[in-house]
Symmetry: C2
Subunit: 296 residues, 2 copies
């Protein structure tokens, strides 16, 4: 467990170095406030789980970690943009994000909308210009990320989520469908893109994707459990805010104990999939233990 | 002039056929409300000037118009997303767009934010998968569009615009800088991308870009003049809304007559540039006359 925490910290340093270079104040021709809002949101902390998954997937496929850094940065920018927009008053209306004012509270709603928009664009620009990948690989990365983040993926998930608010009677099935898109698509893309960048075999990509699908769900179940049981300091936002917002969660739909049981079951399935991967999978195993431990 | 209007109408049919295929209700796995909001905004009318510029630029470079259709669709989706977000209450707060309720009035602010987000993503997905272009060409298209639409282009322009509101004392220089990014970047990209897709020579690309820079400005000056002098029916939104919002415009900064003179001067420069293009430039000439005629 300690090993995994060290690994996670290493991944944070790794990706943040890349993010700092892309979002450097030295980049010319950018409106100052806009750039500050982009940097503020991207460097607000966070566990950098998606970049870690890119890193771990690339490791499992024996790829070059330097080559895959732009991929990790692009995915993290998409994640950051989605958080900025999700926090807006018209969406989840969260004033706080990771113990700090959310982007629209720190700047303004207008600036937050634009900062999110620009982070999305930058993600695709980065992928299109990644020097270590072939032109074919870059196009595969762009297509994979666009499908995961767009109207068939993450944005659809958020749209279903918005519509489902106030609908406490949501079933586990509806929740599942929403989360597969909202959180799951980008987690799955992280593993897929890391593996593609490392020229992984189809079999390995397939196994890493299976792991990604299950772990993506586990991630959301764990998040809902954390929201229900944590205090505000640990969570970085108001605990119980999902409940307050009338959001259907795994805890509201299943009850706390059953949600914990479901999480344990998902993590067990993830671990079984990894047993078939005959490569370096320690970080991916570490994540499973990490997700299981935080709620106990 | 009649010829140009027919040409413009043909370009509208051309690009809308493409847009309908990309945004077809038959596309699976998409949240229904989100997809409806995307279609509503994209098919709200509009002159489709950017697709027309892609078409005209491709014609001038002797390229294949079928190949370049996805490029025109992608640029129009970026334009649509920017209009949806610009209309939001936190931005320009426009309830109407082309004689219809703007996206957030028809649906909700949350859905409008997401529809804009998803249209941006789809634009890049389309470019990454354009069948008629080589992988190298697709990457050039993606990079060109991302640079034009992102934090160094359109989004920066909108950010400067937001900050400049209430600042009636803005100079022509500040206005120019803002519009070069806000409107100009995407107009320039339309001409550039159309030419690139047709494998135009560097000289031709350069001339089309010069034309694009000047015409982009002319476009904005003309828009400001129209806002000042038109009635609500012609404009599709409340006339004088720029003035009401305290926005600096060419008319507020220069006065109406001087703005008209400036427009005439820009259009003259555009026409001179076209004289050096020894190819099919009738549509590009037509646009110059069109921009000049509407304000008289």
């Amino acid at each position: 467990m300690k090993d995994f925490e060290h690994y996670l910290a290493d991944c944070v340093s790794w990706v943040e170095e890349g993010l700092h270079s892309y979002l450097s104040p030295a980049v010319k021709n950018v409106d100052k406030t806009l750039a500050e809002a982009m940097r503020y949101s991207v460097f607000q902390g966070g566990k950098r789980i998606r970049p870690m998954l890119v890193h771990a997937s690339c490791l499992a496929a024996g790829g070059d970690l330097q080559t895959v850094l732009p991929v990790a940065c692009a995915i993290e920018m998409i994640h950051s943009y989605s958080l900025i927009h999700d926090d807006l008053p018209a969406m989840d209306d969260d004033d706080m994000r990771r113990c700090n004012p959310s982007c629209h509270k720190k700047f303004s709603e207008a600036v937050a909308i634009l900062a999110g928009d620009a982070l999305q664009t930058l993600a695709f620009e980065i992928l299109a210009t990644t020097p270590g990948l072939s032109v074919e690989q870059r196009l595969v990365q762009i297509t994979t990320l666009a499908k995961a983040a767009g109207w068939q993926g993450m944005v659809s998930g958020q749209s279903i989520d918005i519509a489902a608010t106030e609908n406490i009677a949501a079933t586990t099935q509806i929740l599942e469908m929403m989360h597969i898109k909202k959180t799951g698509a980008l987690i799955l893309a992280s593993l897929t893109m890391g593996a593609y960048a490392a020229n992984a075999s189809d079999d390995l990509v397939n196994l890493l994707q299976q792991y990604g699908r299950i772990t993506g769900l586990a991630f959301q179940v764990q998040d809902d459990i954390m929201d229900a049981i944590s205090d505000s300091h640990t969570l970085g936002k108001k605990p119980g805010s999902d409940k307050k917002n009338g959001k259907a969660t795994y805890v509201s739909v299943m009850g706390l104990e059953q949600a914990k049981g479901y999480l344990a079951d998902l993590l067990k399935q993830s671990a079984e999939i990894l047993e078939s991967v005959k490569k370096e999978t320690q970080p991916l195993q570490g994540l499973i233990h990490f997700l299981g431990k935080r709620i106990n």
